[in-house]
Symmetry: C2
Subunit: 308 residues, 2 copies
């Protein structure tokens, strides 16, 4: 444990040390960082470690780029609940004259965004979003499906909190099936996620959580989400001891995605879904904060887990 | 070599087989694909192989997310030359009422993009773009700098050619220094890139190339680029035998980025830069096309290179 954890301004001190040591490099945009070789290697090892721990579950493994079909995004309901976090991708479709106007505007630090209408893609908001379209408008096999994904995700929430990046990676297991099997799957993951966290020597605890829904109606949605115990998180200290950061998120969506995407169970009912997501940059930050910046000096058991 | 290479419609047949075998899965957007475990593993191995081959060069390794600071993008000149390929990231910044209008528009398959003004980031157009801002407004050490990057890149060019993805990964080595050393570095890379290609059992050849500059003025820029031998490519058959696809690109920028970003040599002149970029998805596709879809049956020498 680093001494800076205890001095009352840990977030600032930890952030300063991460930047000063070059683990992450600022790019001039809050929440967008370059990654050092050491940081990236740690993220890659955590990603592979998650893969190895879940390999016996025999998920179908698929990887998506950081962009998502816009019609799938619209169908998912993300725009209803989290319009303020979404990033949409736009492109220029004008004449040479319009191009000259864009360049003049850029020269004067103007806003040339009107010349860039939306394209067919948005930035992937969470690694599981491309999975539901894969299963859309079809019946699941009797045992349901288990899919393993990992991708860069984007959330428009500029912040100086290192653990709240705008562009970050998430490794997820996504379960789709009937209500009972999906609930049971998520419940089995709670102690498992705690054990994963403990294996890395991190002081994690399970918390009931809610998503940052948009607007006044969002408050009600968040209350409902807590009441129905739909979102659980494993939290560990990163930015502060008092307000630990989620590194693993365990979400039960009921039949939200099943209904939105026409995914049905083998016996014809709307499928239920659940996902367990590992925040890879956050896990790396939690490890550096807990075990220090000298990776060769991390506890032997943790190094063994990560193949160090 | 696959039989489908020779029948006159190879691109269509190869594409059909890649999709049918599930190496890549369509997402409903041209040029945006899911990657199977086998395809992703191949990309990862190619990436690591490139890293191992260049490790003796002692580049500074840094990794960036798929988004780039918009002011750096503007400063780079990309908007001048390639406005039609750029992807800018936009986000919602409206009221609850504006949100309701967006949802109504989406419901009617309308265009809600006007409610999404540009954010502080754009999609990274090439892996080297975040490197020049790192070096900006400063003098290089006497020996210059060598930086190794890899990231997802975006180009808005929807196409059914599997080798022309909108979202893809590029591994690059970027050299900055004085004119002579940068030219010499790029020249040494030409036979080296050919040797890399041969080591994978690919039939590559070096070609003089040019970038797809925008507009009428772009034609002149492309002619100039060829005349000055600024862009070389190693091309191999992917979509067709007759029009092979670049898998490695060797670019000499003269002092374009040095001047744009205020990067100077140790003796105070605008730095020259060059980059060598490996198209990771294209290299994977070239391997499957050349050696077949049964990876364990690839030539022993190629499997050895990739640690298979």
């Amino acid at each position: 444990m680093l001494a800076i954890d205890r001095d009352g301004t840990p977030a600032t001190a930890f952030r300063a040390e991460v930047i000063e040591r070059g683990l992450l490099t600022a790019t001039g945009v809050a929440g967008v960082y370059g990654r050092s070789d050491l940081f990236e290697d740690t993220v890659t090892r955590i990603d592979r470690w998650v893969s190895s721990l879940v390999s016996g579950d025999n998920a179908d493994i698929v990887r998506f780029p950081p962009v998502l079909n816009r019609t799938h995004f619209e169908r998912s309901g993300y725009l209803d609940s989290f319009p303020h976090l979404a990033g949409t991708v736009h492109a220029f479709a004008g004449s040479e004259r319009a191009h000259r106007e864009v360049l003049e505007s850029a020269q004067q630090s103007g806003d040339w965004s009107a010349a860039f209408p939306a394209t067919a893609v948005v930035l992937t908001p969470a690694a599981c979003y491309p999975v539901y379209p894969m299963l859309a408008d079809a019946a699941l096999p009797p045992q349901g499906r288990l899919i393993d994904v990992m991708s860069y995700c984007f959330r428009h929430e500029p912040s100086d909190d290192l653990a709240r990046m705008q562009s970050f990676r998430m490794h997820e297991q996504v379960r789709a099936g009937n209500e009972e099997s999906v609930i049971a799957w998520r419940e089995r993951w709670v102690p498992r996620a705690e054990a994963f966290t403990a294996a890395l020597g991190l002081d994690g605890r399970v918390e009931l959580a809610s998503d940052p829904f948009f607007g006044r109606g969002g408050t009600m949605l968040a209350v409902n989400q807590r009441d129905r115990r739909l979102k659980l998180e494993i939290v560990v200290p990163i930015a502060s001891e008092e307000r630990p950061t989620p590194i693993i998120s365990l979400n039960y969506h009921e039949d939200h995605f099943g209904t939105a995407f026409g995914i049905v169970t083998a016996d014809g009912r709307p499928a239920h879904t659940s996902c367990v997501g590992f925040g890879l940059e956050r896990m790396a930050l939690a490890l550096f904060r807990r075990h220090g910046f000298d990776r060769p000096a991390w506890p032997a058991a943790v190094r063994r887990e990560l193949g160090l």
